[in-house]
Symmetry: C2
Subunit: 195 residues, 2 copies
DNA sequence: GAATATACTGAACGTTCGTTAAATAAATTA
DNA sequence: TAATTTATTTAACGAACGTTCAGTATATTC
């Protein structure tokens, strides 16, 4: 039987990323439990068993998607904040980058935002480590804000994260942009008399 | 005939509520997809098939849990706000009641808070209706706050709901109480917007 | 060009899933 | 108490699940 896929077979890393993209897409839409291995394989035009050539299990596949999501959103935020000097501007830029990753077709970031790992399963414990790695960045930004008690900083962080990640539930493309949303949300908290 | 059935109903309702409790418990811990019918039956010390004597399907069972959750949290909030007069105090009392339902062993409310329905499946469309019914109350409270633009009201609502519902991810019993958390979170906005 | 390593398929495995149907126990009504 | 309705179990169904594995192409190496 002749195959139509004889030429130009992609390289390993490229192929991995293709499959990882399909997985991110499915997991972002359906979550870990409802997103099946067969869904992912079908989205990548591949047999379910093929995934196991690259990934050890559904869990490790999900973890890789999660890690890639953290990596992307982290990079995006790091890049955004360097152009800002004042602490509140830095925080707003970070929030804008966070939302842009989240709301504009980056399935990896959506998985990170929508999957809040809890419990003591081995997978979730590993996911929590990845997530904390990202949240540390925000903690640092908030810590530099002037005139706030430690308690206020803690609550600001929890409230801000909650508000930002909840945008996936009501964001509508074409209306307010991620940057505008970030500006409005951070503005709700922003103290007027800083610097 | 009709009177006969009416006599049998209280027992029926009582049993229904027991099974509904088991379902709420499981759905709150595992979510709709990962919480299986067998999990629920086992939590209620009953065979899986018994559930189908009272509920048509897993979906309608979930919907009933969701509706009961909305009913409870709504009642709790309605009761809390009547003791307050000033708009910001009303909002804070509503937030406190919301968090108390959410964080203190009411599995029904947890299901409501953690399940944000989206998509166009028939079930999710029905869930959205129930949820909107609840959120309308908060919209009314926020609408009465003085000196806010309509845009600010909209963003305040989204941000506040996001911040409140995210507490399930970090709340630790024994530390700050739901009332205290509500006071602090509403306070973050209040200090900015309350002139 | 033969040997080897890589990419992928096809078929099946054991489990779990939601759900149904028939049989039976318990409660209620007549 | 007999008849009937309600509650629950036992057993199984087909479908979907994650995963495995032997086999088959394709690409790379010698």
């Amino acid at each position: 039987m002749l195959s139509n896929r004889t030429v130009g077979r992609p390289r390993l890393e490229h192929r991995r990323l293709e499959l990882l993209n399909a997985a991110a897409n499915v997991f972002a839409r359906k979550g870990f439990d409802a997103g099946s291995v067969r869904d992912i394989a079908s989205a990548a035009n591949v047999q379910p068993s093929s995934l196991y050539h690259f990934f050890g299990s559904k869990e490790t596949l999900f973890e890789e998607v999660y890690m890639e999501g953290v990596r992307r959103i982290k990079t995006s935020v790091e890049t955004a904040v360097v152009t800002q000097g004042r602490p509140w501007d830095k925080l707003e830029a970070a929030a804008a980058a966070h939302l842009t990753s989240l709301l504009e077709d980056d399935f990896f970031s959506v998985v990170v935002a929508e999957t809040i790992p809890k419990g003591t399963s081995e997978l979730n414990i590993r996911l929590i480590v990845h997530r904390n790695d990202y949240e540390k960045m925000f903690i640092a930004f908030i810590d530099r804000l002037p005139n706030l008690t430690n308690d206020n900083k803690k609550y600001l962080r929890f409230a801000l994260f909650g508000a930002l990640n909840a945008t996936v539930n009501w964001y509508q493309p074409g209306k307010d942009s991620p940057e505008e949303i970030a500006r409005r949300i951070v503005g709700l908290f922003r103290v007027q008399l800083d610097t």
